[in-house]
Point group: C2
Chain length 346, copies 2
């Protein structure tokens, strides 16, 4: 591994995503990316007695499907790096119990997807292991209940609100043995974000709160790597949705980053059809959103040859209901991971 | 970095703990390790309006003192790896906001101390950075309120209960430049634990729940490294306390690990005088406990030449109040980090 600038890690061996999975709930299954998901539950209950047990079942299914898709046996898996939005990341820890492998719990709210992928890639790149799983999950009903109001309560939401997706995405990262080039997705670099907090306090407007973090990490990525946005076929945030993405665009324009060189989109916008699925309001959010869009949709597009280089910038709002109740503003963070299909080997 | 066996990372460059800090509350200041702590608050309120704000202040003080003790400027610090027991690890995230550096949030309950040290050491060892801070915190009143009952409620506790310590410990990990050998503490290896869950459900008996995780990780460490307990002058768990430590000893004896070759103790027992400080019942616990005992007491003993090699095995009970209320058992994990004074350089 090599440090570029101050915040970016270049994974010199270019670890490979050997396989991945995206498992979602019924609403995501009605969205435009449905055909890219490995499994779609037809009910939010998923046959479990509580929402929390349902989220855990979702995470466990995704982790097993990722192993299957990667053709890696559970006994071969050496590390599990995961987290979620639940208090004490119980969905992840219970999934880790099922997998029975060494476990590193992480928390970055919705940035957990790329935080876990960055750490798993560091483990593989630096010789610390042969196979590592990075994964995360969210469930609409567990998150709404914990952070806002139980869905059953039926409270109204403002037009800036985002809809927590129900889904879990996992990726198996392995060593780059130089074979099968041109069809494999490599993890090339990661830019670790710092906390940005502009003093916003509204938990129904996460997109605005997180936009400065996304812009800061994207700016750092290009400063550290010396690249420009045109290097990537797609730069995707997760999840700024319809309110936050234009703000991030504006902030990046102020920084002089020529984002017009590339396609700049957001996982929270890609996963739903906002015109038809009105209930999602500003778009999707939740730990699982950038994970299922990346590990389902984007990796499939890369393998099909539609995208060669992608920068995924997962954003997290690191509030708790308690910090909000105590009048604190919302600290936000974004972590970026660069993915590339094929290219030179080790 | 080199992988030993399946669960252990050998840090081949032997990163250095350039400086560390241990900040505690008044009860810990009355314990036998008082003189090893950098700062002792004289009240649990710490001049703040809520317990959560107090814990954050504690963490922020510890992170600043660690930088000072390491003679590293805040601007030089590149990564902050931290976590705590609060929902959404807010103490850590708010401390990260204050530090303004790239931030990786982690969660391993009381194993967070060694999880964060292992990840920070991996970053430095693999060339991903020059300076990384690993830290964690706990506050008796925030944890008791969140996991059990508010302290003010005055509920009684069974004799197996442990007392969450008030404290934050941070370490600055830096590159090993080969200078000042013999006086610096090196991070030599880390063994990442897997989840052990023997079906226990009593949140007032964490020591018993966590003992199998400690024993499993210690067994894995010796299997992976080929060493025996006699290699270490001290093996210390954190925190099994008076109930869990004897169980871990028994489990290790069953595994045939000759722990009698070394001193085998527990941070939750070291931090208090159980005979005098009756209110701690079975001993200390909490994210901060193994952190302040390691970064305050143990590193000082190492620098004085009293200990050459130490294995710190931090144990975490990964339950949430909700998982407990839903009848789930307590998944536990333990991460071990080996520290060594002096020895060969890079």
């Amino acid at each position: 591994m090599e440090q570029l600038g101050s915040q970016t890690w270049k994974f010199t061996t270019r670890p490979v995503i050997l396989g991945s999975s995206a498992v979602v709930g019924p609403e995501e299954g009605e969205g435009p990316l449905a055909s890219d998901f490995d499994f779609i539950y037809d009910s939010l209950e998923m046959g479990e007695k509580t929402w929390e047990k349902a989220e855990r079942a979702l995470f466990e299914k995704a982790s097993k499907l990722a192993l299957m898709n990667a053709a890696v046996e559970q006994e071969q898996l050496e590390f599990f790096v995961g987290g979620d939005l639940m208090n004490q990341i119980i969905s992840s820890s219970f999934a880790a119990r099922k997998l029975g492998v060494p476990y590193l719990g992480v928390f970055g709210a919705c940035s957990t997807s790329m935080e876990s992928l960055a750490i798993a890639s560091m483990i593989i790149d630096s010789g610390g292991g042969k196979y590592a799983l990075a994964g995360t999950s969210s469930h609409n009903c567990t998150v709404e209940k914990q952070f806002r109001y139980p869905t059953e309560y039926g409270s109204q939401k403002p037009p800036t609100a985002q809809y927590t997706i129900t889904g879990s995405g996992c990726a198996i990262v392995g060593r780059n043995d130089g074979t099968a080039q041109g069809t494999q997705v490599h993890v090339v670099s990661a830019t670790i974000g710092r906390i940005m907090d502009l003093g916003l306090t509204d938990p129904f407007n996460m997109g605005t709160a997180m936009a400065p973090a996304a812009a800061d990490t994207i700016t750092a990525h290009f400063r550290d790597t010396g690249l420009t946005p045109g290097h990537y076929d797609l730069i995707v945030t997760g999840d700024l949705a319809s309110v936050g993405l234009p703000i991030a665009k504006e902030l990046l324009a102020e920084e002089g980053i020529p984002m017009e060189q590339t396609t700049f989109d957001d996982c929270g916008l890609l996963i739903f059809n906002l015109d038809k699925q009105k209930y999602v309001i500003a778009g999707g959010s939740g730990c699982g959103c950038s994970a299922v869009v990346t590990y389902g949709h984007i990796l499939k597009r890369m393998r099909k040859g539609e995208l060669k280089r992608v920068l995924v910038v997962a954003t997290g709002a690191l509030l708790s209901p308690l910090s909000y109740q105590q009048g604190e503003s919302i600290p936000c963070v974004a972590h970026a991971v660069a993915l590339e299909i094929g290219g030179e080997g080790q």
